[in-house]
Symmetry: C2
Subunit: 262 residues, 2 copies
Amino acid sequence: MQQLKAIGYTEYEAKSYVSLVKSGTVTAYQVSKNSGIPRARIYDILKSLIEKGLVLKEEKIDGTVYSPLPVDVFLEKAQSNWQKNYQNLSNKLKQLETTEESPDNQILILKEKTTIISYCRMLIRKAEKRIIISLWDDMYEEMREELEEVAEGVQIQGITLHVDHPIKTVDLHRITHFTEAPTSKRWFVLSIDAKEMIYGSYVNDCELAFYTNDQVHIYLLEDYVWHDVLVNRLVKRNKDNLEQWISEERKKFFMEDGFVEK
Amino acid sequence: MQQLKAIGYTEYEAKSYVSLVKSGTVTAYQVSKNSGIPRARIYDILKSLIEKGLVLKEEKIDGTVYSPLPVDVFLEKAQSNWQKNYQNLSNKLKQLETTEESPDNQILILKEKTTIISYCRMLIRKAEKRIIISLWDDMYEEMREELEEVAEGVQIQGITLHVDHPIKTVDLHRITHFTEAPTSKRWFVLSIDAKEMIYGSYVNDCELAFYTNDQVHIYLLEDYVWHDVLVNRLVKRNKDNLEQWISEERKKFFMEDGFVEK
DNA sequence: TTTTAGTTACCATTTTGGTAGTCACTATTT
DNA sequence: AAATAGTGACTACCAAAATGGTAACTAAAA
């Protein structure tokens, strides 16, 4: 039971509790049998679980039996523990944090899927004017909520792949042999107000991304997304007098004029 | 930083991250100095934090510097991790739980403060008719929310000590030399529909309590609370023809007649 | 020459998972 | 009736892994 280990219990403790939840009130011997924990260890493990309040002991005339803390009680306990701990942590860390101005031209390496996603979500919430994205479906779903939340006050431009109902203002990538190849490398780009940006390889792969506030990087990658959008629109359009049309489209995309803040 | 250890980081990891949050972007050497972690260990620790996405590495021409993941991003990450894990756990455990009828005449031993409190909260939420309590202030505060929530549909009787604004239907214990003595032993009682009950020594002490569904225990302890209430009311009243008055009061307290369910 | 920066190679302790073997009592098979 | 298998309870270890902690060495910069 991986989830129980994640909240601080050992493998044996997790197995014991789960076994007890399955079986109800039984003897220690039975717990050992059901859970596969060596008989010799079951008593000290149950003891530690009793100390932690996860298991209830009942001494009867004909021996001792153990019951699991009811699941709903356990969940309530776990939740309120977490809440307290989180509140504490939050307060302390926020007090400590020195709000130094982050220097320009930074490129930070982000690792670990949940870190990358959390960072993206924070940035989206911070956006004030324009967000440019290039996202595949699973990544989009991870930040759908945040995007839809800010969509009213912020222009969201860009392209999505395989996403079912993205924000109306973004383009949908046409299906090509390239986008369908399972081996093709997937990248994503998320640019916030042309000031900050996260881009990287795709979450399911090696879980690596970069944060930057460097203007050159931002320009290049925004343009990269723009070209992707452009080609896509061209294919759809397929007409003449492309040149002027492209420049108009580009202006509209980047909102280089006529954009009025709400 | 105890809170960080509680969510799975080691002491060194916690110290490193906290130090980085305090100092902002610095070299590994500085982290070691600020946090008190031996220089010889700081590199592998930062490495592990980078893998976990808590620390960002930046390699510059004149050396490598490390930044903490911004506190708000970290908190969002921690929260969403917890949420996922909790959801999983909740589903799995609820599926496993066999809803065997708990036998009568149980007396279970509850240990650990948060376990006791969580159990009390669950019982209060389950109450349908009548709750009888005998609670000191700190314990009352732990379950104030739950009590006030069910107060409309459920009769709440009993006595509280030192509680500021308890439910109107409960009595306030008079201040005596006994209630004020810091050494006096504190007990609490919580009886739900005269079917289930938790009673025990007080949370700040040895953190031991008992759950029972045994009718005898419940009768005895409910009566014990009743006597406490009664004596209290007597002192306030201090009149004659007490006998009849007591029996009337008792009836009202236990709602032995005339109680209509809502 | 002290401070900063980076690295290798250990070691001790604690936690955790896992084994062996003992004792007593009960139920069942031979 | 004796032998056997299963249940229930407990002591004493042991090995591996994780974690905290030390010594010492290099090399540049201040």
